[in-house]
């Protein structure tokens, strides 16, 4: 595999998670590429293909951003390079009540 080739992608500049596009192993370097973005992050855990990793420290209750939108919130502190999945984040399933207080 090309040493320079990235193995994770940042979909939107606002995201705080990246998506692995290869099966990545603990201790390995995630090379994250986005538009005008590149970062190398040492992985704290295995990240399977299609799964998410934290781009930086994420505090408990902080929103998880993917596609530039909120996909849930952290249930605990998440360290940079950790696997981000249902064990440490939860959906804020909003329906009618989520519209309350929103400005249009």
């Amino acid at each position: 595999m090309n040493k320079e080739k990235h193995n994770a992608i940042l979909i939107d500049p606002k995201d705080n998670v990246a998506v692995a596009i290869d099966n990545l192993k603990k201790g390995q370097m995630a090379r994250v590429k986005g538009d005008n973005y590149f970062d190398e992050i040492t992985l704290a855990q295995d990240i399977p293909f299609g799964h998410k990793l934290a781009l930086g420290f994420i505090q408990e209750d902080e929103e998880i951003i993917k596609y530039g939108e909120v996909i849930g919130a952290a249930m605990q502190n998440i360290e940079k390079g950790e696997h981000v999945h249902e064990h440490n984040i939860i959906g804020i399933r909003g329906k009618r009540e989520a519209k309350q207080g929103k400005e249009f």
Binding site: I21, G50, K66, Y67, E86
Partner: protein, 382 residues
């Protein structure tokens, strides 16, 4: 920016110049087919509807879809073929289409006295229509005249990573030019409806988005389907929340504001991003958007699909290189290059946008080259 299309009398612009032979009822399918087969370049559809036993709401929906289909700007002229005893009266369908000002004729098998006479009449009428259509020339129009349907099917993890976000970029580019994009398949908005509602142009539209999603979800419950649950395969693939799953789907709609919510097969009255309330079935959803006037369909996929449309080009966009390489006869654009590291979401989005213009100018898509004409009308049960 401009494209070359066909001017229609109602000021819409076609990217194709089809003669459509449309059966008003299942019983006239084969007669319609025989007419179309004798006429060079004519297209036809077959379906299972039109008889007499429909609930009123579904009869309205079927009628609206047929009229909308014939009224689509890509149809230059239309022949409606009826049997004579059906609920979908051929003359009514033809009259509805004729409001666009385009040439429309109807033929009723029982009136003219059998299939052979009906085919003879149809071919005679169709020959003249084809001659007139062949004399029309493409003219320059700006992109605000284009409507782009955003469909996905045969999805996998890669659809949400590469193909859908890239299509979102292309959709935003078209909307920036004053054009229209239609997002559909309400069941695949469940879990992200609050995000779409937040992008609504006003509170009324926000409310409509929440309403159609609520309705789809309730309909699912009645059938014993809980749409807020992630499947084991979703979780294994790395999806953690329903918001994330639905975002992968709705990202086809980019970041634009939602201007309007329309019912199945209803033509939008606004430009920009539109949500059409359709079921999560590819062909029924595409048929509805095309009946709503869309001229070009974008279709993202991960696992690959051959689906086409008889009157609108379908641009197939694949999320990964492995499927693309296996199914290049069916797929137009490989968004898998994003995952391969050869391109970015923005770059592939630009490529899709350019393909939209090229296809609007006349470039044939893979499903057109293969002559595919999938058509299906969703019939509500109540």
């Amino acid at each position: 920016m401009i494209f070359n299309g066909y001017q229609r009398p109602d000021d819409s612009v076609g990217v194709r110049n089809h003669l459509l032979v449309l059966p008003s009822v299942v019983c006239s399918n084969d007669t319609a087919r025989l007419i179309a087969e004798q006429l060079h370049g004519a297209v036809y559809v077959t379906h299972e509807h039109g008889c007499g036993s429909h609930y009123l709401s579904s009869a309205d929906q079927i009628r609206r879809t047929m009229i909308g289909y014939g009224s689509n700007p890509n149809v230059g002229a239309c022949i409606v073929v009826g049997l004579g005893c059906e609920q979908m009266v051929a003359e009514d369908i033809a009259e509805g289409i004729a409001r666009t000002g385009k040439p429309v004729e109807s033929i009723v098998i029982q009136k003219v006295g059998g299939t052979i006479k009906a085919v003879s009449q149809g071919v005679t009428i169709g020959q003249k229509m084809l001659e007139d259509l062949s004399k029309q020339k493409r003219q320059e129009f700006d992109l605000s005249n284009l409507s782009f349907a955003l469909e996905c099917g045969g999805s996998d993890t890669t659809s949400g990573i590469s193909a859908n976000p890239a299509l979102g970029v292309a959709s935003d580019l078209l909307i920036r030019e004053g054009g229209t994009s239609i997002l559909s398949e309400t069941s695949e908005i469940v879990g992200a409806e609050h995000l779409m509602a937040r992008r609504a142009i006003n509170e009324e539209v926000a409310e409509q988005i929440l309403d159609i999603v609520h309705r789809a979800e309730q309909g699912g419950f009645k059938q014993g389907v809980d749409m807020s649950n992630l499947s084991p395969g979703n979780r294994e693939g790395g999806l953690s929340t329903v918001e994330e799953k639905s975002l992968g789907n709705i990202h086809k709609g980019g970041t634009s504001s939602v201007q309007e919510v329309v019912e199945y097969a209803v033509r939008p009255s606004k430009k920009g991003l539109i949500i059409m309330d359709t079921p999560g079935y590819d062909i029924e959803s595409i048929t509805a958007m095309v009946a709503g006037g869309t001229q070009v369909v974008a279709f993202t996929t991960g696992r690959g699909t051959p689906v086409g449309c008889p009157i609108a080009p379908v641009i197939k966009i694949c999320g990964n290189s492995s499927t693309y390489n296996k199914m290049q006869d069916n797929i137009d654009i490989n968004a898998g290059v994003i995952i391969d590291g050869l391109s970015t979401v923005q770059e592939v989005g630009q490529q899709i946008f350019q393909e939209l213009i090229d296809v609007s100018n006349g470039k044939l898509t893979k499903s057109e080259q293969l002559g595919f004409g999938d058509f299906s009308i969703y019939r509500p049960l109540v």
